[in-house]
Amino acid sequence: MRDARWLHPGAWWLWALGMAAAASRTTNPLLLALLIACAALVVHARRPEDPWGRSFAFFLRLGVAVIVIRVAVQLVFGAAVGTTVLADLPGLQFPEWLAGVRLGGAVTLESVLMALYDGMRLATILICVGAANSLASPTRLLKSVPAALYELGVSVVVALTFTPQLVSDVDRLRTSRRLRGRRTSGIRAIAASAVPVLEGALERSVTLAAAMDSRGYGRRGDSTAAQRRTSAALLLGGLVAACVGIYALVSAGSPAVLGLPLLIAGMGAAVAAAALSGRTRLRTRYRPDPWSISEWLVSSAGVAVAVAFTAAAWSGVAGMETSFDPPAWPLLPWQAVLGIALAATPAFTSPPLPVSTSPAGRTLEAREVLA
């Protein structure tokens, strides 16, 4: 039995990004559904019991919404593809000079399928990001952010934590409105509570800023302003270059010649920035997450699925794209399925969670709160 511990959040994010990259290479609904199932399996096995851990369900719903919207937009505005007419919506005829614009009209099976596959791909990418979000909360990711980006990271995380806080504020104000015998639903009620909610959020951020300041956040240390600016610029520039490089490498349309040098240069700049800021920064880290064999296993599972999908798409394996005109049954290419099987391994190979956040720990908590 491996020791229970938190996996390095970076490993989870690499894994999830690999899954997302894989999803972007295919329009095969079977493969996309398998990817979603795989993400759900891993999240179910390794998700911590905190508000972030519960956010996966939200991303699932978001994915469904994306599909519905994509199909609806296609039905109303999209140009009809194919000839298998399912229904005829009342439409508007536009004059000649607006030839590209369409509203309503014939609904064909082909265009519905096209929109469905496209929407599913986008939804799968979103759900993979959601999986990373619930497996490794942004606050934990912050611990591993390079020192040069720390201040930026803090503002992002603080902003993120205020969202759940706002929800509870809205709840409190609904209660207050009931206590004053006023309507608790409807537009006027929402409008009336908007100002106090925002006021509350503002007040809280000022309190938090004061608390952080008095605990030493943003102490100058030995570094000069110029040094700090250089390292931040170097890091941001490097990361942007690396992203462009990765995009050039994996996207079908752009030249791969451009990708590799950009990626290498970007990584180099980022490493230099991290080294520079690491030398002059005052800040230290308490119990940084280690990067060991489990992290390698999890992140390489993500890389594996991305490579499997990209290679299969590149070499034109049948079934990576599913034909919608004419409609055809999706195939299951074995290369991609193998990749997904590898991507599911973190559900077993990653270390189990520390006990305090497992469901058994929750009941203990409830008792302790009372005690």
Binding site: R178, A211, D213, R219, Y286, T357
Partner: protein
């Protein structure tokens, strides 16, 4: 350790300085208690120590504040973080991270301590404040006392020489407050930390203080001295001191233990006297009841099979630890929160089925944060909308307010009222519909003694007029003063229900100071003792 040299602090837009010409010297290793009325400038004084005033709040500071040789003039709060630790009033609002252990380490990370030092200090702090069992817990899931201890630990782990606390026990039940104060005591005695603390609940803290600073407000000079000297003339004093003044004890006792030693003659004097109780209304009719009520949050039952009956003209106090289910029970009585199982009836109606003016005319709740109820930009507007909501004659709310808090002006923004004034305004809004039943959740949190006395008078008057009043509170002195009946909740169940004098005197946790000093007789308040003494003198 801390030196104020002729400090004057003025905020923009105010005609008078909040603090003027303050000279103060606080030596190392002392526990200093700062007392004063709400809005007297206590918090300003505390926040000037690490430079939050004026670096963060704005305003101008004349003079000089020097801490451990560093002036706040050229050291912003972050550069003083290794010397001064500040625990904010609401600990939750100052937490930066998610879990207990990370929060303890955060300050040290900012100061750039070596990882092995941090690791050792986190372990030490966990032990010192008794947080070992909850080290991995999420901060959100902690109880009030645990949060307060984590907040103290989080600043303490960085080993500041000075610890500044703003009302550390005001939101805590008596047990949790004792826990926090014991931890502070240990810091002062074992580590020589200088502690500066503001607190309204003097009865909890005054006996631990080495020095008391009274901030009279309105730019008056501060009074600084040893607690027993300052308390002789202090305008605000805990019951033990008031009893000491009444009985003429010298030296003035500050703790129950000292007072008990001096109380022998007083106890003899009171033999044969009975505490004078509030006149119970001639006719107490049953008004509301909760029958077999349970409220669940997920798997956890916050209120568990509670039976409770309330009659007209009764003042009932709900007591119990933080998280015992007091607020949940009050919410169930006005029909907010998860739908309870069982039966709640107020004058025959289920409050959850009522809304709008019908609800206002049957039951009203003043919540823990009364400010939540206020939406308008002036007091007058707030009163007018209250009349509309309650469908009562225009001017009703304003007339009530004039009766209860005549000093509040029409044009003022509710946000600019003091905490106590805001509470009274909300109370008037709730009372405009004349609900037969009035509920209050922690009404005295953050209130100073004079405001508390005023609230107590208002509540007893309402009870005499036939309103049934239920208040959830940790304030044993208030309960002793006004409650007819005490209901103690634990784990969502009623564990005691009876007349105040019986219930509170039988529990060391909930007994007021006078009861502890004069036990086993049933005396609860200084007022009762004074009344009885006057009687004795008349007879003699």
């Amino acid at each position: 350790m801390i030196v104020f040299n002729d400090v004057t602090i003025q905020y923009p837009g105010q005609s008078e300085p909040t603090l003027s010409h303050v000279d103060l010297r606080i030596p190392e290793g002392e526990l200093v208690l700062v007392v004063g009325r709400t809005g007297s400038g206590k918090t300003t004084l505390l926040r000037a120590i690490n430079g939050l005033v004026p670096h963060f709040t704005g305003g101008t500071l004349a003079g000089d504040v020097v801490v451990d040789g560093r002036s706040t003039r050229d050291h912003p709060p972050r550069e003083l973080a290794d010397v001064v630790g500040v625990v904010p009033q609401d600990p939750m609002s100052g937490f930066v991270t998610d879990t207990v252990e990370d929060e303890l380490a955060y300050g040290m990370e900012c100061l750039g301590l070596a990882p092995d030092v941090m690791r050792r200090r986190v372990e030490e702090t966990l032990d010192l404040l008794g947080l070992v069992d909850i080290r991995h817990r999420a901060l959100r899931t902690l109880s009030g006392g645990q949060r307060q201890r984590v907040a103290i630990g989080a600043v303490l782990a960085a080993h500041p020489r000075v610890l500044v606390l703003d009302e550390p026990t005001s939101a805590l039940d008596p047990g949790a407050a004792e826990e926090v104060l014991a931890a502070l005591q240990r810091l002062v005695h074992d580590l020589g930390v200088t502690v500066v603390m503001a607190e309204h609940r003097l009865e909890r803290v005054v006996q631990y203080a080495d020095q008391v600073i009274i901030v009279p407000g309105a730019g008056q000079p501060l009074i600084q001295g040893s607690p027993s000297d300052v308390m002789i003339t202090a305008p605000i004093a805990p019951p033990v001191v008031e009893l000491g003044r009444l009985a003429g004890w010298s030296p003035l006792p500050l703790s129950v233990r000292d007072a008990r030693r001096a109380a022998g003659p007083l106890r003899d004097l009171l033999v044969g006297q009975r505490p004078h109780l509030r006149a119970v209304p001639a006719e107490v009719r049953p008004l509301a009841y909760a029958r077999d009520v349970s409220v669940r949050y997920g798997a956890h039952a916050a209120v568990n099979h509670v039976d409770l009956g309330i009659g007209t003209g009764e003042i009932v106090a709900l007591m119990g630890r933080n998280g015992a289910g007091k607020s949940t029970l009050l919410n169930a009585l006005v029909g907010i929160g998860p739908r309870p199982s069982g039966e709640v009836r107020i004058a025959g109606a289920d409050p959850a089925a009522l809304d709008g003016a019908d609800l206002l005319h049957s039951v009203g709740l003043v919540p823990q944060e009364p400010g939540d109820l206020l939406e308008a930009t002036t007091v007058a507007e707030e009163c007018r909308s209250s009349d509309r909501d309650a469908r009562c004659d225009p001017g009703t709310t304003r007339a009530l307010l004039a009766l209860m808090a005549p000093e509040i002006e029409d044009g003022i923004h509710p946000r600019d009222l003091s905490e106590g004034q805001r509470l009274l305004l909300v109370l008037c809004i709730i009372l405009a519909a004349r609900p037969p039943m009035l509920l209050l959740d922690e009404p005295t949190r953050g209130l100073d003694y004079p405001t508390k006395a005023r609230l107590a008078r208002v509540l007893t008057d309402l009870a005499e007029a036939g309103h049934a009043i239920v208040l959830a509170t940790h304030d044993v002195e208030l309960v002793a003063d006004i409650a007819d009946r005490v209901v103690i909740l634990a784990e969502g169940e009623v564990v005691a229900d009876g007349p105040t004098s019986h219930v509170v005197t039988s529990s060391p946790m909930f007994a007021p100071q006078v009861a502890k000093i004069l036990s086993p007789e049933g005396w609860l308040t200084v007022g009762q003792v004074a009344h009885a003494l006057a009687h004795v003198e008349d007879a003699g």
